[in-house]
């Protein structure tokens, strides 16, 4: 059974088709990267996976549980699925320790001591133990995002969703967050990451999904998408030719997005 199975998902805002016939799956222990130009529906798709966004068509199964089904206990499902947001979304009125403990205490029913203990271990792991008593506003963006990852991990998730975790960061802070993510991937965490970081994709991703206009236009494994890099000798760039060819064959009229995915 795949960890995440997305079957023919469709979503509309009124007449606007945000997601169309999206089908893919993430096996246990797999890392997949979702990329594409802005407005292509990648964030929407990942938010559908833990039910933060409703969808009208198709089905999403997370560890066998249907997300969209009326009887599903979404809170319970989400407590097993870690999520990291573009803008961190740490709770500004709580200290870092409290941020890490709140979900454990309120959702998992752990004792305060247990939760703080677990939180401190994770803080140490992301290299922020010294900041435990601070408030989110006192940390840099990169540090906040590492805390956000630790907060998600504190729930012992079975898989992790990353929604553009480095897009709101200053360039010099991106790597500290990516390092944590790479480490996590190497430990065997199942991850679905919306990101433009092709270096990250090349390092740890099993597959890369390319989305455009609400559709999954390419779902390639690591070898396929990384091969052209070697040929062109270029780093951190999306293999443009293969994508554009795919689009031509799909006869999709679309703007030139090639610059968007070149880092």
């Amino acid at each position: 059974m795949p960890m995440i199975e997305i079957k023919n998902v469709g979503k509309w805002y009124g007449d606007f088709n945000v997601l169309a016939e999206c089908t893919t799956k993430v096996e246990k222990g797999e890392v997949i990267v979702v990329c594409g130009p802005s407005g292509s529906g990648k964030s929407t798709l990942i938010k559908c996976v833990n039910g933060l966004e409703p969808f009208q068509k198709g089905e999403i199964l997370v560890n066998g549980t249907s997300v969209g089904a009326p009887g599903t206990n979404l809170s319970k499902l989400r407590s097993h699925v870690g999520m990291v947001f573009q803008h961190f979304e740490l709770f500004p009125h709580m200290s870092i320790t409290e941020n890490l403990a709140i979900g454990q205490i309120k959702v998992l029913g752990r004792s305060k001591d247990e939760a703080i203990d677990k939180g401190m271990k994770l803080l140490e792991r992301v290299g922020l133990k010294a900041h435990a008593q601070k408030f989110p506003g006192q940390l840099s963006g990169g540090q906040q995002q590492r805390v956000a990852i630790a907060r998600a991990l504190a729930m012992n998730p079975i898989c992790m969703l990353f929604d553009e975790p480095t897009s709101a960061l200053d360039p010099e802070m991106i790597n500290e967050v990516l390092d944590v993510m790479v480490e996590l991937a190497k430990e065997g965490m199942t991850m679905m990451c919306v990101t433009h970081e092709m270096g990250f994709a090349r390092k740890v991703a099993n597959r890369v999904i390319f989305m455009d206009q609400g559709r999954i236009v390419e779902d390639a494994n690591k070898e396929e998408f990384s091969a052209p890099h070697a040929r062109s000798g270029r780093n951190n760039s999306w293999p443009r030719s293969s994508i554009t060819e795919q689009h031509r064959s799909a006869k999709v009229q679309r703007p030139d997005y090639s610059g968007l995915c070149t880092l």
């Binding site: 938010k47 833990n50 933060l52 979404l74 809170s75 319970k76 499902l77 989400r78 407590s79 097993h80 699925v81 870690g82 999520m83 947001f85 803008h87 979304e89 740490l90 709770f91 500004p92 009125h93 709140i102 979900g103 309120k106 959702v107 998992l108 408030f135 989110p136 506003g137 006192q138 907060r151 998600a152 729930m155």
Partner: protein, 222 residues
Amino acid sequence: MLNLDFAFLTPGVVSSYIAKGFFFSLQLTVVAMLGGIMLGTILALMRLSSKSWLVIPAAAYVNTMRSIPLVMVILWFFLLIPLLTGRPLGAEMSAIITFTLFEAAYFSEIMRAGIQSIPKGQVAAGYALGMTYGQTMREIVLPQAFRNMLPVLLTQTIILFQDTSLVYAIGAYDLLKGFEIAGKNFNRPVETYLVAAAVYFIICFSLSMLVKVLQQRIAIIR
């Protein structure tokens, strides 16, 4: 000239005429504030929900209350409740209930603005951790909304304290009433009203100073 004489305001006079009124005004303010904020928060959550059977009654309640002068509400409630229940409620009790219900409408608008000031991502983060709607509101949204809105909530409370003088309409014994009666008994109405004004000023002004201090102390570090 006015020929003012404050000599009659001895501690004995203050404690027998004014203290009782002051404590009632204070009680009315505190109960109406706490009750109003609680009820107002529920009304605000109802208005912000996606279900029309919650939105419509809450909106109707808030808009009605905000469109009627407080004196009329005080008077109506005082006169109508005995007709409905068959026995009088008493001016003090009636005032406390009326003020709570009335202020809830104003506090609900303040809390609604406060809740809307919290980014949607915060709610998503709460949900993503597996929290329920209630937990997300209680632990994440409302504490932040409350902090953001604290100055406005306290300013509304200061207005509420001033408005407690409106219970004269149903003859409840509040701070102003205490001064009024003392003034009549000693035939010194000008002096008592002057002192009353000074007392209201001192209380309200020090409360607004307190707002500033509190605001700095519980502000969210950003």
